[in-house]
């Protein structure tokens, strides 16, 4: 029994989750500039680069600009997506000067010998969609024909792969590597199971890694390998409430270890203002070596850096295995 460790597959540990396009609840469109990304990819002190920071990024579009659902998390938070919203996701991801293109540019600034790992979350082909749109002269209906969901995903993957090749050639001397795709829907409907198995097989043929972000407790959570995922990251839904306190994370970490998963440190709880520090306190003692993804409120780490919040230092120290538990913590993570 051991936690999954990125080194075993030549992957960087400590990813951060980067939501882009329209947020779940508001009208604002999230765009990540180089300045936004710099405090994540580089550990900064008074605007000077001290060290490399996070080892990789997971980009995930939550909703399209017109409010269509893209990520699995956004299901129910807007209308079902169309082929145009999926195209927009790809276009905005690679738009020069922002988001993924900004990461690739920025990767040239990271200390010599380091690389940035890029992961991209697949949009979720929502089964409530009647008419997704036309791809290769075929009108796709996710609701009527589940094969169409696979066709759409393969098409989107091809778009991303093509865009990546173009961007990669364009930015001379970058040090970003595109590792693979992420399936971010935790619970799997019966027709999702076949879909992810097929898509994982397809991605492996193309030479990509596959990663599943799931919640601790989800029914098929331990079947990631059977479904063809290379990596499974488990998110303990630590809410800071009764039944979902820090003990929940402790129990989850035992499960994670038993099934060789990694962990998602999700700062989305509702009651505990010290939640992030509690996670770091526990993590440095229980699962320091595990492959981990930080899922923090959008751009919160940048704000911490700008406000000189010690949390910025704590997270950095954690990723370098130099963090020590802080008793009676206080935190300024803003939700």
């Amino acid at each position: 029994m051991a936690y999954f460790q990125g080194e075993t597959k030549g992957l960087n540990n400590y990813l951060f989750h980067c939501s882009f396009l329209r947020s779940l609840t508001g009208n604002e469109v999230q765009v990540w500039s180089k300045d936004d990304l710099r405090p994540y990819l580089l550990y900064l002190h008074q605007a000077r680069v001290v060290d490399a920071f996070f080892g990789g990024i997971v980009f995930e579009a939550e909703r399209s600009v017109d409010g269509s659902t893209l990520s699995s998390k956004s299901l129910g938070f807007g209308k079902p997506p169309t082929v145009d919203s999926w195209k927009e996701t790809c276009r905005e991801l690679f738009r020069r000067g922002q988001n993924l293109a900004a990461v690739v540019e920025l990767s040239k600034e990271i200390p010599f010998g380091k690389m940035i790992d890029i992961w991209i979350a697949l949009p979720y082909p929502d089964v409530t969609q009647h008419a997704f749109g036309i791809i290769d002269d075929t009108l796709l209906h996710f609701r009527q024909d589940h094969k169409d969901r696979k066709l759409a995903l393969k098409w989107w993957i091809q778009q991303v792969a093509t865009e990546w090749q173009a961007l990669s050639k364009e930015v001379i001397g970058h040090r970003a590597r595109f590792c693979g795709f992420v399936w971010s829907k935790s619970s799997l409907a019966p027709n999702d199971e076949q879909l992810v198995t097929d898509i994982n097989g397809y991605l492996h043929e193309l030479g990509y890694h596959t990663l599943w972000m799931q919640n601790y407790g989800t029914v098929k959570g331990h079947e990631g390998k059977r479904l063809g995922f290379d990596i499974v990251l488990t998110r303990p839904t630590y809410l800071g409430t009764k039944n979902r306190g820090i003990e929940w994370v402790e129990t989850a970490s035992s499960y994670v270890k038993a099934f060789e998963h990694g962990l998602i440190l999700w700062a989305g709880g509702i009651d505990s203002p010290t939640l992030m520090i509690e996670l770091l306190n526990l993590g440095c003692q229980r699962f320091a070596e595990a492959f981990q993804l930080f899922e923090l409120p959008v751009k919160s780490l940048k704000q911490m850096y700008e406000k000189e919040d010690p949390m910025y230092v704590y997270v950095y120290a954690y990723t370098k295995k130099a963090y020590r538990p802080i008793p009676n913590p206080t935190s300024s993570i803003e939700k």
């Binding site: 089964v127 409530t128 919640n215 039944n243």
Partner: protein, 320 residues
């Protein structure tokens, strides 16, 4: 649940339904497949995004109802929809119905505890009829009765044939103990041994979509004969123009807007009721026609959605 979301969409109200209880029935239209952890994960955003929360089956989004107080403080309208098994205690059930089966409900003290927690934040409940009403009425400020919804008008009725001398009887027990399957099949057995001509088919482990296709072939549908009221199977079957056998408690009959055309039979009468329908094809046709009319009048999605919208208006108004 999905059907209500569909109905709301048809009158221009955006809604999203999440189902965390998955069975072989495979309800999937207008419902997002989820589990309880998915709901925990999206709770904060959901609290911001949605205006009204319609919970079902005595459950909410976070463990121990930790979400309800937050939603209330956030000024969100809330209503809890109880379906029966989530609140049916033996103490009340047995008062008016010696046949009631409650072993698939939580223990009474757990039901009481849950209802106390829920009603600390939620004032309004929805129930499908007056059979469920007394279990929750003491707890809520207001309990609304909303009949089961079905897309009645999208289903073409297929009335039994008066010429059919070997009728097909169908029973589809999702929970045989609750439905009284033992009594039903004992009556079937007796009728078969006595030489009556009919066919019997028990439907189980079949998706709802598939089952609906099978019900189309039925001449008689046997619903539940213990509970004292009727459920989804009866509504689906009435919509198809099928005569339905089920038990409508005598004291509840006047509580319906009009007496449902269901052939009422409890375990004491099931044999007679089935025999009557087997022997009289013209009755099957007549009751089937009445059933369709009743379903259109009270259970069609357009009718029920209007009532639901009124309930939502009342719930939202009560926040002001």
């Amino acid at each position: 649940m999905g059907i209500l979301s569909q109905g709301l969409e048809e009158i221009g109200i955006s809604s999203s339904a999440y189902n965390t209880f998955h069975s072989y029935l495979g309800y999937r239209d207008y419902v997002h497949y989820a589990d309880v952890y998915d709901l925990e994960y999206i709770f904060r955003e959901a609290m911001e995004y949605f205006d009204l929360f319609h919970f079902h089956y005595g459950m909410s989004m976070l463990p121990d109802f930790a979400d309800l107080e937050r939603l209330r403080k956030h000024g969100k309208a809330m209503v809890m929809h109880h379906w029966g098994n989530d609140v049916r205690t033996p103490e009340i059930a047995k008062q008016n119905n010696p046949f009631a089966y409650t072993d698939d409900s939580p223990p009474s003290d757990k039901i009481h505890e849950s209802l106390k927690k829920i009603t600390a934040s939620i004032d309004h409940a929805i129930v499908q009829d007056f059979e469920v009403y007394p279990y929750v009425a003491p707890y809520y400020k207001q309990v609304h009765v909303l009949p089961i919804a079905f897309s009645v008008k999208r289903v073409l009725p297929k009335y039994p044939s008066a010429m059919n001398t070997i009728p097909l009887l169908i029973h589809a027990p999702t929970n045989p103990l609750f439905k009284g399957t033992l009594h039903i099949e004992a009556a079937i057995d007796r009728l078969q041994k006595e030489g009556y001509h009919f066919r019997y088919r028990r439907i189980e482990k079949m998706s709802n979509e598939e089952a609906l296709r099978v019900y189309q072939e039925a001449d008689v549908v046997i619903d539940q004969i213990l509970c004292g009221s009727y459920g989804m199977l009866a509504v689906e079957s009435m919509s198809m123009g099928k005569p339905v056998v089920g038990y409508i408690r005598e004291d509840l009959q006047a509580m319906f807007p009009e007496m449902p055309p269901i052939v009422s039979a409890n375990p004491n009468h099931i044999y007679e009721a089935l025999k009557e329908l087997i022997l009289h094809p013209e009755k099957r046709v007549e009751i089937g026609r009445k059933s369709r009319i009743y379903a259109e009048k009270y259970h069609d999605i357009t009718v029920v959605t209007k009532q639901l919208k009124n309930i939502y208006d009342i719930v939202a108004e009560s926040l002001k």
